[in-house]
Amino acid sequence: MVKESAMNVDIRRLSALFERLTPDESWVVLQFAEFLIQQRESKVDARTARRKVSAWLVREVGNLLMGDTPQYIPGERPVWRVPVLVTSGRHGHAAFVDVDAQSGDLLIDDYTPEKVLADVQAFVNNTASN
Protein backbone atom coordinates (compact mmCIF):
# COMPACT_ATOMS: atom_id res chain seq x y z
CA MET A 1 0.00 0.00 0.00
CA VAL A 2 1.39 3.41 -1.02
CA LYS A 3 1.63 5.89 1.81
CA GLU A 4 -0.21 9.12 1.11
CA SER A 5 2.10 12.12 0.86
CA ALA A 6 1.96 14.77 3.58
CA MET A 7 0.92 17.36 1.01
CA ASN A 8 -2.04 15.29 -0.14
CA VAL A 9 -3.11 14.88 3.47
CA ASP A 10 -2.92 18.65 3.97
CA ILE A 11 -4.97 19.27 0.85
CA ARG A 12 -7.65 16.81 1.99
CA ARG A 13 -7.74 18.40 5.44
CA LEU A 14 -8.00 21.89 3.95
CA SER A 15 -10.77 20.78 1.64
CA ALA A 16 -12.70 19.18 4.51
CA LEU A 17 -12.30 22.30 6.62
CA PHE A 18 -13.36 24.54 3.75
CA GLU A 19 -16.62 22.64 3.33
CA ARG A 20 -17.52 23.37 6.94
CA LEU A 21 -17.05 27.14 6.57
CA THR A 22 -19.78 29.62 5.76
CA PRO A 23 -19.34 31.65 2.53
CA ASP A 24 -18.20 34.66 4.57
CA GLU A 25 -15.67 32.59 6.48
CA SER A 26 -14.41 31.04 3.22
CA TRP A 27 -13.87 34.53 1.83
CA VAL A 28 -11.78 35.51 4.88
CA VAL A 29 -9.66 32.36 4.55
CA LEU A 30 -9.11 33.03 0.85
CA GLN A 31 -8.12 36.63 1.56
CA PHE A 32 -5.63 35.41 4.16
CA ALA A 33 -4.19 32.80 1.78
CA GLU A 34 -3.75 35.48 -0.90
CA PHE A 35 -2.11 37.75 1.66
CA LEU A 36 0.41 35.01 2.55
CA ILE A 37 1.23 34.52 -1.14
CA GLN A 38 1.62 38.28 -1.65
CA GLN A 39 4.04 38.45 1.27
CA ARG A 40 6.19 35.77 -0.34
CA GLU A 41 6.04 36.99 -3.96
CA SER A 42 5.91 40.76 -3.62
CA LYS A 43 8.74 43.04 -2.56
CA VAL A 44 6.51 46.09 -2.95
CA ASP A 45 3.60 46.64 -0.58
CA ALA A 46 0.14 47.83 -1.58
CA ARG A 47 0.60 51.31 -0.09
CA THR A 48 3.83 51.91 -1.98
CA ALA A 49 2.19 50.80 -5.24
CA ARG A 50 -0.76 53.14 -4.65
CA ARG A 51 1.52 56.09 -3.81
CA LYS A 52 3.61 55.56 -6.95
CA VAL A 53 0.50 55.59 -9.11
CA SER A 54 -0.98 58.60 -7.28
CA ALA A 55 2.21 60.62 -7.74
CA TRP A 56 2.37 59.73 -11.43
CA LEU A 57 -1.32 60.54 -12.00
CA VAL A 58 -1.08 63.95 -10.35
CA ARG A 59 2.16 64.82 -12.17
CA GLU A 60 1.34 63.51 -15.66
CA VAL A 61 -2.42 63.20 -16.07
CA GLY A 62 -4.46 65.37 -13.73
CA ASN A 63 -4.44 66.70 -10.19
CA LEU A 64 -8.00 65.48 -9.51
CA LEU A 65 -7.03 61.81 -9.89
CA MET A 66 -5.44 59.43 -7.43
CA GLY A 67 -4.77 55.75 -6.89
CA ASP A 68 -7.26 53.70 -4.90
CA THR A 69 -6.81 50.39 -3.05
CA PRO A 70 -4.65 48.07 -5.21
CA GLN A 71 -5.51 44.48 -6.06
CA TYR A 72 -2.74 41.90 -6.13
CA ILE A 73 -2.60 39.93 -9.40
CA PRO A 74 -0.40 36.83 -9.02
CA GLY A 75 1.33 35.21 -11.98
CA GLU A 76 4.72 34.93 -13.67
CA ARG A 77 5.08 38.67 -13.29
CA PRO A 78 2.91 39.58 -10.29
CA VAL A 79 1.53 43.10 -10.30
CA TRP A 80 -0.43 45.47 -8.13
CA ARG A 81 -3.40 46.69 -10.15
CA VAL A 82 -4.15 50.20 -8.90
CA PRO A 83 -7.55 51.69 -9.80
CA VAL A 84 -7.57 55.30 -11.01
CA LEU A 85 -10.04 57.13 -8.78
CA VAL A 86 -11.89 60.13 -10.20
CA THR A 87 -12.48 62.54 -7.30
CA SER A 88 -14.29 65.36 -9.09
CA GLY A 89 -18.08 65.09 -9.29
CA ARG A 90 -19.22 61.52 -8.81
CA HIS A 91 -16.34 59.42 -7.48
CA GLY A 92 -15.45 56.19 -9.21
CA HIS A 93 -12.84 54.05 -10.91
CA ALA A 94 -12.16 55.06 -14.49
CA ALA A 95 -9.07 53.01 -15.35
CA PHE A 96 -6.19 51.18 -13.71
CA VAL A 97 -2.40 51.31 -13.71
CA ASP A 98 -0.24 48.26 -12.96
CA VAL A 99 2.86 48.31 -10.76
CA ASP A 100 5.43 45.51 -10.95
CA ALA A 101 5.19 43.84 -7.54
CA GLN A 102 8.85 42.84 -7.58
CA SER A 103 10.59 45.98 -8.83
CA GLY A 104 7.99 48.64 -8.00
CA ASP A 105 8.20 49.95 -11.58
CA LEU A 106 5.11 51.54 -13.07
CA LEU A 107 4.06 49.47 -16.09
CA ILE A 108 3.34 52.38 -18.38
CA ASP A 109 4.44 53.66 -21.77
CA ASP A 110 4.31 56.96 -23.65
CA TYR A 111 0.65 56.41 -24.50
CA THR A 112 -0.59 55.55 -21.00
CA PRO A 113 -1.42 59.16 -19.99
CA GLU A 114 -3.60 59.54 -23.11
CA LYS A 115 -5.31 56.19 -22.48
CA VAL A 116 -6.02 57.01 -18.84
CA LEU A 117 -7.29 60.45 -19.80
CA ALA A 118 -9.63 58.96 -22.44
CA ASP A 119 -10.99 56.51 -19.86
CA VAL A 120 -11.50 59.33 -17.35
CA GLN A 121 -13.37 61.44 -19.90
CA ALA A 122 -15.55 58.45 -20.85
CA PHE A 123 -16.32 57.91 -17.16
CA VAL A 124 -17.19 61.59 -16.66
CA ASN A 125 -19.39 61.68 -19.79
CA ASN A 126 -21.12 58.45 -18.83
CA THR A 127 -21.75 59.78 -15.33
CA ALA A 128 -23.14 63.06 -16.70
CA SER A 129 -25.55 61.30 -19.06
CA ASN A 130 -26.94 58.98 -16.34
Binding site: R59, V61, G62, N63, M66, T87, G89, Q121
Partner: protein
Protein backbone atom coordinates in the same frame (compact mmCIF):
# COMPACT_ATOMS: atom_id res chain seq x y z
CA UNK B 1 -3.64 81.95 -4.87
CA UNK B 2 0.11 81.71 -5.61
CA UNK B 3 -0.15 84.48 -8.23
CA UNK B 4 -2.13 86.68 -5.83
CA UNK B 5 0.78 86.21 -3.42
CA UNK B 6 2.72 88.52 -5.81
CA UNK B 7 -0.20 90.84 -6.51
CA UNK B 8 -0.85 89.28 -9.92
CA UNK B 9 -4.62 89.03 -10.35
CA UNK B 10 -5.91 86.51 -12.91
CA UNK B 11 -9.30 84.83 -13.11
CA UNK B 12 -9.71 81.09 -12.54
CA UNK B 13 -10.77 80.83 -16.20
CA UNK B 14 -7.57 82.49 -17.42
CA UNK B 15 -5.43 80.25 -15.24
CA UNK B 16 -7.33 77.09 -16.22
CA UNK B 17 -6.94 77.91 -19.92
CA UNK B 18 -3.22 78.47 -19.51
CA UNK B 19 -2.41 75.32 -17.56
CA UNK B 20 -4.70 73.02 -19.55
CA UNK B 21 -7.54 72.05 -17.25
CA UNK B 22 -9.45 68.92 -18.34
CA UNK B 23 -12.89 68.28 -16.83
CA UNK B 24 -12.85 65.32 -14.48
CA UNK B 25 -9.07 64.95 -14.53
CA UNK B 26 -7.86 68.43 -13.62
CA UNK B 27 -4.39 69.56 -14.62
CA UNK B 28 -1.10 67.66 -14.68
CA UNK B 29 0.93 69.18 -11.85
CA UNK B 30 3.95 69.65 -14.14
CA UNK B 31 1.86 72.09 -16.24
CA UNK B 32 2.11 74.55 -13.39
CA UNK B 33 5.31 75.81 -15.04
CA UNK B 34 3.08 77.34 -17.75
CA UNK B 35 2.13 80.04 -15.23
CA UNK B 36 5.40 81.70 -16.21
CA UNK B 37 3.50 83.63 -18.92
CA UNK B 38 1.96 85.66 -16.08
CA UNK B 39 5.32 87.10 -15.01
CA UNK B 40 6.51 84.48 -12.55
CA UNK B 41 9.22 81.86 -12.62
CA UNK B 42 7.94 78.39 -11.68
CA UNK B 43 9.88 75.24 -10.90
CA UNK B 44 8.07 71.94 -10.35
CA UNK B 45 9.93 69.22 -8.41
CA UNK B 46 9.36 65.86 -6.72
CA UNK B 47 10.79 64.14 -3.66
CA UNK B 48 10.89 67.46 -1.83
CA UNK B 49 12.07 67.84 1.74
CA UNK B 50 11.11 70.12 4.57
CA UNK B 51 14.40 71.93 3.97
CA UNK B 52 13.33 72.74 0.38
CA UNK B 53 10.07 74.21 1.63
CA UNK B 54 11.71 76.17 4.45
CA UNK B 55 14.30 77.70 2.11
CA UNK B 56 11.60 78.76 -0.32
CA UNK B 57 9.44 80.35 2.37
CA UNK B 58 12.40 82.19 3.89
CA UNK B 59 13.30 83.58 0.46
CA UNK B 60 9.79 84.97 -0.03
CA UNK B 61 8.69 82.54 -2.73
CA UNK B 62 5.20 81.04 -2.94
CA UNK B 63 5.47 77.30 -2.38
CA UNK B 64 2.68 75.14 -3.81
CA UNK B 65 2.45 71.56 -2.53
CA UNK B 66 0.29 68.69 -3.79
CA UNK B 67 -1.38 66.77 -0.97
CA UNK B 68 -4.03 64.19 -0.14
CA UNK B 69 -6.72 65.86 1.95
CA UNK B 70 -7.66 62.59 3.67
CA UNK B 71 -4.54 63.06 5.80
CA UNK B 72 -5.31 66.70 6.70
CA UNK B 73 -7.09 67.06 10.06
CA UNK B 74 -9.32 69.96 8.95
CA UNK B 75 -10.70 68.19 5.85
CA UNK B 76 -13.57 65.70 5.83
CA UNK B 77 -13.16 64.70 2.16
CA UNK B 78 -10.43 62.55 0.64
CA UNK B 79 -9.18 64.09 -2.58
CA UNK B 80 -6.00 65.39 -4.23
CA UNK B 81 -5.48 69.08 -3.53
CA UNK B 82 -2.95 71.93 -3.68
CA UNK B 83 -1.92 74.25 -0.82
CA UNK B 84 0.38 77.23 -0.48
CA UNK B 85 2.94 77.04 2.32
CA UNK B 86 3.27 80.32 4.19
CA UNK B 87 5.19 79.45 7.35
CA UNK B 88 7.11 76.64 9.02
CA UNK B 89 7.99 76.20 12.68
CA UNK B 90 9.50 73.21 14.45
CA UNK B 91 6.37 71.04 14.61
CA UNK B 92 3.77 73.26 12.95
CA UNK B 93 3.26 74.24 9.34
CA UNK B 94 1.07 77.13 8.14
CA UNK B 95 -0.79 76.93 4.85
CA UNK B 96 -3.21 78.92 2.77
CA UNK B 97 -5.88 76.55 1.53
CA UNK B 98 -7.99 77.88 -1.36
CA UNK B 99 -10.93 75.72 -0.19
CA UNK B 100 -11.17 77.63 3.12
CA UNK B 101 -11.63 81.31 3.90
CA UNK B 102 -9.59 81.17 7.11
CA UNK B 103 -5.92 81.80 6.50
CA UNK B 104 -3.39 80.77 7.39
CA UNK B 105 -4.31 77.32 8.71
CA UNK B 106 -1.92 75.73 11.19
CA UNK B 107 -1.46 71.97 11.38
CA UNK B 108 0.87 69.42 12.91
CA UNK B 109 3.92 68.69 10.79
CA UNK B 110 3.25 64.93 10.92
CA UNK B 111 -0.20 65.33 9.37
CA UNK B 112 1.18 67.54 6.63
CA UNK B 113 4.06 65.17 5.81
CA UNK B 114 1.67 62.21 5.42
CA UNK B 115 -0.57 64.24 3.11
CA UNK B 116 2.40 65.47 1.05
CA UNK B 117 4.11 62.08 0.85
CA UNK B 118 1.05 60.54 -0.82
CA UNK B 119 1.87 62.26 -4.13
CA UNK B 120 5.64 61.86 -4.03
CA UNK B 121 6.27 65.12 -2.15
CA UNK B 122 5.70 67.23 -5.28
CA UNK B 123 6.02 70.97 -4.97
CA UNK B 124 6.41 74.08 -7.06
CA UNK B 125 8.43 77.18 -6.23
CA UNK B 126 6.86 80.33 -7.67
CA UNK B 127 8.84 83.57 -7.76
CA UNK B 128 8.59 86.82 -9.59
CA UNK B 129 10.52 86.51 -12.83
CA UNK B 130 13.12 89.13 -11.93
CA UNK B 131 14.08 86.97 -8.97
CA UNK B 132 14.73 83.98 -11.24
CA UNK B 133 18.38 83.70 -10.34
CA UNK B 134 17.56 83.08 -6.68
CA UNK B 135 16.65 79.38 -6.78
CA UNK B 136 19.66 78.39 -8.86
CA UNK B 137 21.58 78.55 -5.60
CA UNK B 138 19.58 75.61 -4.18
Amino acid sequence: MALAFFGIIKSQKQIAAQIGHIEGAGTPARNITRLSVFGVDVQHSESGTLKNLRQGVEAGAAIIVFVRTGELPYWDKDTPHALVIVGIEADIIYVNDPAFEDAPIAMAMGDFMLAWDEFGSQYAIVRRSEEALWTRRY
